[in-house]
Amino acid sequence: MRKKVIFRGAALPYLLLMPQMAVTLVFFFWPAGMAVWQSTLRQDAFGLRTEFVAFENFLDLFHDPIYLNAAWNTVIFASSVAALALGAALFLAVQADKQIRGAGVYKTLLIWPYAVAPALAAVLWLFIFHPSIGLVGRGFGALGIEWDYRVNGGQAMAMVIIAAAWKQVSYNFIFFLAGLQSIPSSVLEAAAIDGARPMRRFWTVVFPLLSPTAFFLLVVNLVYAFFDTFGIIHALTRGGPGNATETLIYKVYVDGVQNLNLGSSAAQSVILMIIVIALTAIQFRFIERRVHY
């Protein structure tokens, strides 16, 4: 792994590293340290009065049903988004992998949503689901279904899940397709000669070969659903109705920015950092394994 031949230089390597380190220190380590410090404080909005409260902010959170509700929402939201986005992507990738005409065109038409910002995806789906101007929203109304995501928490949750999953399908699709295409055709032919039916062939032969990709994608999708979907919730539901779509990351924002409750918001940030560290560790353990594989 290590280079055998290296340059010498006393100052140059530090100079080369400096920009990256400067940005990292100032904008990553300083704020992270500040979050940890602030999570032990209580402060008024204007920063004029400060009180040290040790772990009280954390204890309050664990006793706060609204926070626990946000944690539960996050679990529901993230697992649904991951399931939906992975399922749809796998299905489409299997179809696109078949030797048919126009596969390239389909591929192009399926990958572009990756470029759509989460907040923008939310706006696009708003045009579909809005009860008074949306296509599906009005359709539901016409069918006598009471559709209004601004009042109904379940509907609001369904809507943010669809918008979030929609955007992530492309990403998963690209990886699944790459995974499928890397499966040697000899393996598939052998299975076909064995006379296994296509469905069975897929689950017994293809899917196990795809499982490393699937697992990697699962982690990526969870991280996405945890952190990158702020824009979707902010643009569509603002966490409502009645906290129904408030996730952990959204609550950090609400408490820090709207409610100006900096101590609690910092404590929530610290908790989130611990979650990301855990997820990243899992991801890297896995990638490490794949490198050897």
Binding site: F46, R49, V151
Partner: protein, 449 residues
């Protein structure tokens, strides 16, 4: 090399520092949260003021919605760079009151600069909201509105309900709702925007019942919510029942539900008096404005409603000692306020925007100009603010709760659960009280001493 070009490129795109020449007028930074067209009209007041003199120049900047403006101003204060004037919505009043040396109270500002504004002529509801309990003004009242009822006269006529007389009481409203549902021809008889402002805060005020202890928080930080009382319980239960029976529809937070009125979906809409311009522009039917109904049999009801909207706060520059403002800067702020208080200016603002006039003199002026003859119903919100003789009680002066933005959200969240049928209205009020009190205690703790 590459990096340097990038950085200098980035720097040059940053905010340009304002050029400060010697003979330049003193700049007064004024951050506001009013979107167009209102924002443009507000900025016109600043340019008009600048044209009346040469010593000061008020520089208005739109900073996004009210909450965004508030956050921006607080962040700027922490960085030692606050604007001179910030427009703050009424629910932020409690937070600003407790802000200590971050703000310069208006009564101090006026005393130090020797400028007089006749606050006695201001509508009591406007004045009360932004003053200390002893009457000293803390901020400069500006754009004010209140909630009223908007109703579709055509739908009333279709349903066989007198279109020229909106019921004065909730009992009366309860009677017409089934008729509207049966024959009104609208998707739903009634809806509301600003759920808590219209149906809890103003509701409590006109019925002369407390929203919170210590005179709705005017008496100190130790205040506790009192929304879980029989009358609010009764009203919320009625709304929840009506929602279930298809006679009422909750249309979402803030004013998200408003479009349902001009587009003919709801025959009755509770929302801000500032809704007028939009209804005038969009509604393709005859409509009317009425005062908020009350529950018959409530002692003292109805009295005046309370205001919403925003006031102008004077801020110190930053947390450093002395606040960092010069006498001249304060002079400029005070003179700008004096200009805004001019009845001519205020009346014009009222007629241009649909906000209520903040002074009696401006109200008279608008009347003299025939504004209410040409715009029937435009005086309803003002009359409602003066209802009950115009003497405020502890319950109708206004609301002064720390963290009120959050408390409003909490009330909305809990009531939304009721509208979904997940809990009763009374449970919602109990939960909202508990959670809201927690916010009040945290605020008290962070701000005491």
């Amino acid at each position: 090399m590459h990096r340097r070009t990038l950085l200098t490129g980035a720097m040059s795109l940053g905010v340009a520092a304002p050029a400060l020449g010697q003979s330049q007028p003193i700049e007064i930074q004024f951050w506001h949260g009013l979107a167009n067209p209102l924002g443009g009209l507000l900025e016109k007041r600043a340019t008009d003021f600048n044209a009346t003199q040469t010593r000061f120049k008020v520089v208005p900047t739109f900073r996004g919605s009210y909450p965004e403006t508030m956050v921006a101003a607080i962040a700027a204060f922490r960085a030692g760079n606050a604007p001179h004037i910030v427009q703050m919505f009424e629910v932020g009043t409690g937070t600003m009151m407790a802000a200590g040396r971050a703000v310069k109270p208006v009564h101090e500002l006026l005393a130090e600069t020797g400028i007089e504004i006749d606050f006695n002529d201001y509508l009591p509801g406007v004045r009360g909201y932004y003053s200390l309990s002893d009457g000293r003004m803390m901020s400069m009242p500006f754009n004010s509105s209140t909630t009223v009822v908007w109703y579709n006269k055509d739908a009333f006529r279709r349903a066989g309900v007198d279109p020229d007389k909106f019921p004065e009481t909730w009992q009366g409203v309860a009677e017409i709702l089934p008729k509207l549902k049966a024959g009104g021809g609208t998707a739903v008889p009634m809806s509301t925007a600003w759920l808590t402002w219209a149906q809890i805060e103003n509701f409590s005020a006109i019925h002369d019942i407390p929203l919170a202890t210590l005179a709705n928080g005017f008496g100190g930080l130790g205040t506790e919510l009192r929304i879980n009382n029989p009358l609010v319980q009764r009203h919320m239960a009625a709304l929840v029942d009506w929602q279930r029976d298809g006679m009422f529809r909750y249309g979402g937070r803030n004013n998200a539900g408003e479009p349902a009125f001009p587009n003919g979906e709801a025959a009755i809409m509770f929302t801000s008096s500032g809704f007028r311009a939009r209804v005038q522009r969009e509604a393709r039917f005859n409509w009317g404005v009425a005062m908020l109904p009350y529950y018959q049999g409530t002692p003292n009801a109805p009295i005046n409603s309370i205001i919403g909207g925003a006031s102008l706060w004077v801020m110190n520059k930053g947390p450093a000692a002395g606040g960092g403002r010069s006498r001249d800067e304060f002079q400029g702020v005070a003179e700008f306020f004096k200009y805004l208080s001019n009845p001519e200016v205020d009346a014009q603002w009222h007629m241009d925007t649909g906000y209520v006039p903040v002074r009696r003199a401006s109200y008279a002026l608008a009347r003299d100009r025939g504004f209410y003859r040409d715009n029937p119903g435009a005086d309803v919100p003002i009359e409602q603010l003066l209802r009950g003789g115009g003497t405020l009680t502890d319950n109708s002066r206004g609301i002064r709760l720390g963290g009120f933005v959050e408390i409003r959200t909490i009330m909305e969240e809990e009531l939304e659960r009721s509208f979904q049928g997940q809990q009763t209205a009374q449970q919602a009020l109990v939960n909202a009280t508990n959670r809201g009190n927690q916010v009040l205690r945290n605020f008290e703790r962070a701000n005491r001493g």
